[in-house]
């Protein structure tokens, strides 16, 4: 699929800060993610380390 054929895309989130969910039960609920952007440098560094050809080499047998 060429990029130009892609449907118009809504801008993705840039500053993820999910709001605090309700607890599942008393005595300890889900923990709210820390506010602010993720450490972009760390994450980008990790992403840049991924070999662009990795998916091309990745082969599995069919499972269920």
């Amino acid at each position: 699929m060429k990029h130009s054929m892609m449907p118009e895309r809504r801008e993705g989130p840039v500053d993820p800060m999910p709001k605090s969910p309700r607890p599942l039960e008393e005595g300890g609920g889900p923990r709210r993610p820390e506010s602010g952007s993720p450490d972009k440098d760390n994450l980008m560094k990790r992403m840049r380390k991924v070999d662009p050809k990795q998916a091309e080499r990745y082969r599995q047998r069919t499972g269920e």
Partner: protein
């Protein structure tokens, strides 16, 4: 409260050999879990994937020919079928084995979403530690594991969610109530995928879609799981008293990294089953459900509408809202977990329509899309760049040092229920209120006396006789706790069985 569990087949690679042998690597990965040599214990009686819930038994499965070819190719190996499967039951009551060349972790049966999340995350740690031990043996970090569902070359592997359902519910009612829900569930539970593909045919890079599995759905109903995969699998393998129960075996779902997505995937399905049992599910009939799965998956803007048999057209969000509304009307106030699920279900549908940035760290497809779009801006590349499929794959790497999702988790940017302590406890113990926990206690205390074991039965050796713990109808939580207590404190399984039998006699 009903029981549920998740089976996850992991993708496996090894990078220090030109061509990996998937049979050997999967088998060795599972065996790396063991401190001692493998002993065959799993009892395959009760497993019959040809039995169909529609009331018949098929003569064969579409995978049979391919399986036969693999069996021929694998015949030269110095392993038996049981060696290759390497079926293990773990101290938490989970099953860990090589299923179709994928290491598979099946959680023990759970009664609460909180337990299920801990057990699912425990599975990630168990397979990771097995990979680390295997890598120590190989002398390098060569083996990697992925909690995903595609190899981007037309081969898919599953993450199945399972639910205990009363046999009194007619199967057609399950079909009618579930199909529109499952077709649209991907807006919450999709893991996101770069590109499109089809069963064993070419991968087309570019288009981002909600689901990893949608491309592989080829039928509305069916007993097959490896070819011609259905939206609703009709395998009738209850792993329980067949007269009273079904096991709903759903193969349409993606493997989720986000705990929130796992919670809502299983939690909302549980609510819909409650609706169906009460005869209160929305009456919606899709015109072409199989086409609808793909159509909705390939529309991350969530604007697509699918046609109903009555001519109306609804979007994925509208389909989900119909179910959420019905569940709110019928099930509000049932219990604390249901109320939490109802509130979150409504919120997530609202946010998907209006501000999905709030769902980064909660839904996989939204989180992955955000990661990839951030990367694309930084690197000035487009959706057709092959790097994106590799990043998609790496999102699912279960190694915290490498995986992209786990990198976000380490930065505390994702929503969590579990704690590290809860996950470690789930590695060691099953839920105390289900037969999964009981199975685990038996493994912990009497492993050397277990002659055979499976989901609904454990056979102990003792003297000249064998002694069975039958769990085919052991679902009442108080009964389970009582039985666990007996096995926890008995001197031998024979003593425990005698005490348990006596208690049941007294009750009747």
């Amino acid at each position: 409260m009903r029981l549920f569990g998740i089976e996850t087949e992991y993708g496996i690679t090894r990078d220090d050999v030109p061509e990996m042998d998937p049979v050997v690597e999967s088998m060795e990965l599972v065996r790396a879990h063991l401190a001692a040599s493998f002993e065959r214990r799993w009892d395959y009686a009760g497993e019959d994937p040809r039995e169909d819930a529609r009331g018949f038994r098929v003569s064969g499965l579409q995978q049979d020919r391919e399986e036969d070819e693999f069996a021929k190719a694998d015949a030269h190996r110095p392993f038996s079928f049981h060696d290759m499967k390497s079926d293990l039951v773990l101290p938490n009551g989970a099953r860990f084995y090589n299923d179709h060349t994928h290491p598979e972790y099946s959680t023990p049966e759970c009664r609460t979403i909180r337990d299920l999340l801990a057990q699912d995350r425990a599975g990630e740690r168990i397979v990771l530690r097995a990979a680390q031990r295997r890598n120590q043996m190989l002398g390098g970090g060569h083996v990697k594991l992925y909690k995903n569902n595609t190899d981007f070359h037309g081969h898919s592997y599953g993450c199945h969610d399972n639910y205990l359902v009363s046999r009194a519910v007619p199967f057609p009612a399950l079909v009618a109530g579930l199909v529109p829900f499952l077709v649209s569930r991907q807006v919450i539970a999709g893991a996101g995928k770069v590109g499109t593909e089809a069963q064993e045919s070419g991968y087309v890079p570019g288009r981002y879609q909600l689901s990893q599995r949608a491309d592989f759905m080829e039928a509305e109903l069916g007993v097959d799981t490896m070819h011609n995969r259905p939206i609703l699998n009709t395998r009738d393998e209850p792993h329980a008293d067949r007269r009273k129960y079904r096991r709903l075996h759903l193969i349409i779902g993606d493997a989720n990294m986000c705990e929130y997505a796992t919670a809502l995937k299983v939690g909302t399905t549980r609510l819909v089953l409650d609706l169906i049992e009460r005869g209160a599910a929305p009456e919606i009939e899709l015109d072409q459900p199989v086409a609808a799965v793909k159509q909705l998956s390939r529309d991350p803007d969530l604007k697509a509408v699918v046609r109903l048999k009555n001519g109306r057209r609804l979007s994925a969000l509208e389909l989900q809202e119909s179910y959420c509304e019905a569940a709110r009307r019928e099930l509000a106030g049932s219990d604390e977990e249901s109320d939490w699920l109802l509130a979150e279900w409504g919120d997530v549908l609202h946010l998907l329509a209006r501000d999905r940035s709030q769902l980064v760290g909660k839904l996989d497809w939204v989180t992955k899309q955000w990661l990839l779009e951030t990367f694309m801006r930084e690197e000035r590349i487009g959706w057709d760049d092959p790097w994106l499929a590799s990043l998609d794959l790496e999102y699912h790497n279960v190694d915290p040092e490498q995986g992209l999702y786990l990198g976000l988790e380490a930065d505390k940017k994702v929503w969590r229920v579990t704690t590290d302590d809860a996950i470690e406890d789930a590695v060691r113990n099953g839920p105390r209120d289900t037969r999964g926990g009981l199975r685990g206690v038996c493994v912990q205390r009497f492993s050397d006396q277990i002659k055979s074991i499976q989901w609904e039965r454990i056979q102990f050796s003792g003297g000249l006789c064998t002694h069975n713990l039958d769990m085919g109808d052991l679902f009442n939580s108080e009964d389970v706790r009582g039985c666990i207590d007996i096995f926890q404190h008995a001197h031998s399984p024979v003593d425990a069985l005698a005490t348990w039998s006596h208690r049941k006699d007294m009750e009747t």
